[in-house]
Amino acid sequence: MEIGDLTIKDIASRVKRNEISANEVAKFYIEQIHMKDPLINAFLYVDEDGVIKRAKELDNLKNKKGLLFGVPIAIKDNMNVKGLQATAGSKILRGYIAPYDATVVQKIKDEGGIIIGKTNLDEFAMGSSTENSAFFPTRNPLNVEYVPGGSSGGSASAVSAGLSKAGLGSDTGGSVRQPAAFCGVVGMKPTYGRVSRYGLIAFGSSLDVIGPLTKTVEDSAVMLNVIAGFDAKDETTAKVEKEDFTDSLGKEIRGLKVGVIKEIADFNVQSEIMQSLKVSYSKLEQLGAEIIEVSLPHLKYALPTYYIVAPSEASANLARFDGVRYGLEGEGENIKEFYEDSRTKGFGSEVKRRILIGTFALSAGYYDAYYVKAAKVRRAIEGDFESAFSKVSSIILPTTPTTPFKFGEKKSPLDMYMSDIFTIPVSLAGLPAISVPIGKDNKGFRVGIQLIAKWFDEATLLRVAYALENY
């Protein structure tokens, strides 16, 4: 069996048993990157020397332990890895070197993982195609004329193309699940509060969740085992019992109630996706699950709600990029000109657009009509899910309304925003969700089917996802 086909568990246990060396694994993936990445452009930075050094250190350890021992992990470039760049895909942070490790990165290191490099993304995670990267677009490994989705397009395509065993992405409105669907891999957004955000460059603080991109649901569960947990550095992490998320994998789903959403009919969904969705329903039923229709009446309000809440938070989160302490330094006769020049040169159009929307939504005279209104609609959306989850233990719906599109195809921002129409409601409610590749479209792309579970019930989420994946 080739290294690339092994699961995370396989690699870790073989390296720990000295059946293969961490160095061999690392060299294999670096080789893959050399071969394939010039076309795909998944990585912004590959830490070759660091990877080899780290692999050798692991091999020299007498006491080899850790869930990710010797496993290479790609990190989206909006997370801090000490000593490496952290650009968030923006010119304003070109050359910025992180002085500390994000909590998730620390945890990966603690479990023996190897940070292989930093992956491309839409600038500050704002986008759904990775075209908004200030550096270059990433291509979809399944067909390089198409976008890999975004904003975690780099990590998704790296995993899809076998350039890394697993990757971390961040998901604010679908940025892990949507590229996972586009690249045909598994992408999970855990419950908001399950994984520490410390060290993740913030976009929408009340929505941002770090999640794994992997080849399989099992790998996803292993990754969640590593990154989950209360963090004293993040006030918004929840104090919940530690659990082993691989425990629920393979448990039968007989008797579980799975919700299908009545309002799906109101949306324009590509026929092959509807087809895959129906196939999924029948698979679940054959496995003994009960399919029940649930209603999310506020579903169609999720998108405008999100595009008020996330930009509002972003407008403040991105205020620190002012050129004073780090990042691109503009010019100007006085501080005001300096700020404006630094930021206008440093940010791309989409980021500027969202900063302006957010500033507008928070400004005097508009705050109640936009920000507060959206926060209230968000409560209504949460309420929809609450009542749905009083009837079912998981919900199934498409990850995206379409399979991948071509570069430059989405002309207006609103068109682009529509690709997150099914992932955004889940983010607004803070629920855990996973995208699993099921079926194919006529171009050969996989279709991503999304499962959602109750708050902090990733166990059920993974259990159903695993059953569907392995049907």
Binding site: N78, M79, N80, A86, A88, L93, Y96, A98, P99, Y100, A102, R197, Y198, G199, L200, I201, A202, G204, S205, S206, A232, K233, D234, E235, T236, S312, E313, S315, A316, L318, A319, R320, F321, D322, V324, R325, Y326, I335, K336, Y339, T359, L362, S363, A364, Y367, Y371
Partner: protein
């Protein structure tokens, strides 16, 4: 008649060891940018974590100021760009502060006055910007972020004060309270207490226009700025002109207030709930436990010392406003009694010595045993009150005990009636003119004879005996 209306906004630095949202040290006057970390310097990816001591100190202060502690309070982001504000927003409490609706009763020379407090909220401080030379002319400014993230509690009063003296009083009392509570050093010079004032002047019950004054670096500046500003506003109104609603800057050098340079300032802070910090909930039990920790506060102590010991109002206030002095006073009195005498010696002799040497009461070498010795010497009529002052002054300097001083200097009081009588007779015989005046009915000449006798006895005559004998002898002559 013009009536000024004054409100205060005071920032109190809470004296925690670490900053409000990170573990950086709060120590004062360190090398620039050595007490900073990714959090307080606003690096990408960091998150704030609230310091429990900030909540404790803030609650303590709010309770001491009679505020209601809100069961839930929340944090907001206040957005504006400034180089010393690393995140581009300040984390502060906004819609629901830690404490609301309190009051503080000030009493000084101007009588009692209840000053209502609108709110008390916790927030982070910004860094410090420095300019070489004139702020408008220097090409660059320089920033030190050591202060960024220092915890503050902002106290906002209602505009319940009418005179600069009241504002001064309020601040002096507040400083004393924060020191009693141990929640702040209260040192305005070190920026641990900062104050902005709002002042308007109204005539005939019409609302005045509010002017804010900033850059007040001492309590005296507050008073001076208010005095100047009130006079200025009255002058403007007298000329039939209007007061401009604005922020003015106090110039310490010439004691005037000047309008701050106003560009078209955009004042739209876009406050919104801080998503990184869930609401702060405070239980009744917590508030109750904080209440139990609050000591008797200076203004209460002031009242008690008067009613319990009958000491003068002025002395009671001076003693009470300093926790150390008050502790010393009560300690001495419980050991040696004589509260009036103790307050007198303490304020006249000991405090004068402290001020002269620039030392605190706990550095003064005059403990309760020496105090008792001194008071016993008076009680036993070994020395008079006047001599006692001499003795305590000497003791403060040399550290010798009162007894030793009295012995070494031969200051023992004369209680021998014959000796005093001799001196009295001498005084009478040597001063025939005053004697005739006295006998002629000019009774105030009596004091002259007392003075002469004291001089003859080198102040050592027992005053009671002196009076008795002098009166007897004079009565003999007038009958």
């Amino acid at each position: 008649m013009y009536k000024p209306t004054i409100g205060l906004e005071i920032h109190v630095q809470l004296s925690t060891k670490s900053k409000i949202f990170c573990g950086c040290s709060t120590e004062f006057a360190q090398e620039p940018n050595t007490q900073v970390c990714p959090v307080c310097i606003g690096l990408p990816g960091v998150l704030p974590v609230l310091n429990e001591k900030v909540v404790e100190y803030g609650t303590k202060l709010a309770v001491a100021l009679n505020m209601t502690i809100n069961k839930y309070s929340n944090f907001y982001r206040k957005n504006y760009f400034y180089p010393d504000l690393p995140k581009g927003y300040q984390i502060t409490q906004y819609s629901i502060p830690l404490g609301s609706e309190g009051f503080l009763e000030i009493h000084g020379n101007i009588g009692n006055q209840k000053v209502r407090i609108l709110r008390g909220h916790i927030e982070e401080d910004s860094g410090k910007s420095m300019h070489s030379g004139d702020i408008t002319e220097s090409e660059f400014s320089f920033i030190d972020f050591n202060r960024s993230g220092i915890p503050l509690m902002e106290i906002v009063t209602y505009p319940d004060m009418e005179t600069p003296d009241q504002a001064y009083e309020f601040l002096v009392l507040l400083r004393s309270i924060v020191r009693y509570l141990g929640v702040s050093s209260g040192d305005m010079e070190k920026g641990a207490m900062r104050c902005d004032v709002n002042v308007s002047v109204s005539k005939d019950n019409t609302m005045g226009t509010k002017v804010e004054i900033k850059n007040l670096n001492s309590f005296k500046s507050v008073k001076k700025a208010l005095e100047y500003e009130i006079a200025r506003q009255i002058e403007v109104l007298e000329k039939g002109e209007r007061i401009v609603q604005e922020t003015r800057h106090f110039d310490e050098h010439d004691g005037t207030t000047k309008p701050m340079r106003t560009k078209e300032e955009l004042n739209d802070y876009r406050y919104f709930p801080e998503p990184d910090i869930p609401p702060l909930s405070i239980s009744d039990e917590y508030v109750a436990s904080i209440k139990r920790e609050i000591p008797e506060l200076p203004h209460k102590k002031e009242e008690r010392l008067i009613s319990e010991f009958g000491i003068s109002k002025d002395y009671s206030r001076s003693i009470s406003y300093s926790q150390k002095l008050a502790e010393y006073f009560e300690d001495v009195v419980s050991f040696a009694g004589h509260p009036k005498e103790v307050s007198n010696f303490l304020m006249v002799n000991v405090v004068a010595f402290m001020n002269d040497k620039g030392v605190e009461i706990d550095e003064v070498n005059f403990d309760k045993h020496k105090f008792k010795e001194l008071l016993d010497l008076i009680d036993q009529k070994v020395i008079s009150g006047n001599i006692a002052k001499e003795v305590i002054d000497e003791s403060l300097v040399s550290g010798k005990s009162p007894k030793q001083i009295v012995e070494e200097k031969g200051l023992t009081q004369i209680t021998d009636e014959d000796a005093i009588k001799n001196a009295v007779l001498e005084a009478i015989n040597e001063n025939p003119t005053p004697l005739n005046q006295y006998l002629g009915g000019k009774k105030q000449v009596y004091g002259f004879f007392v003075g002469v006798v004291m001089k003859k006895t080198k102040n050592k005559a027992n005053p009671d005996l002196l009076n008795k004998i002098l009166m007897e002898e004079l009565n003999k002559l007038s009958s």
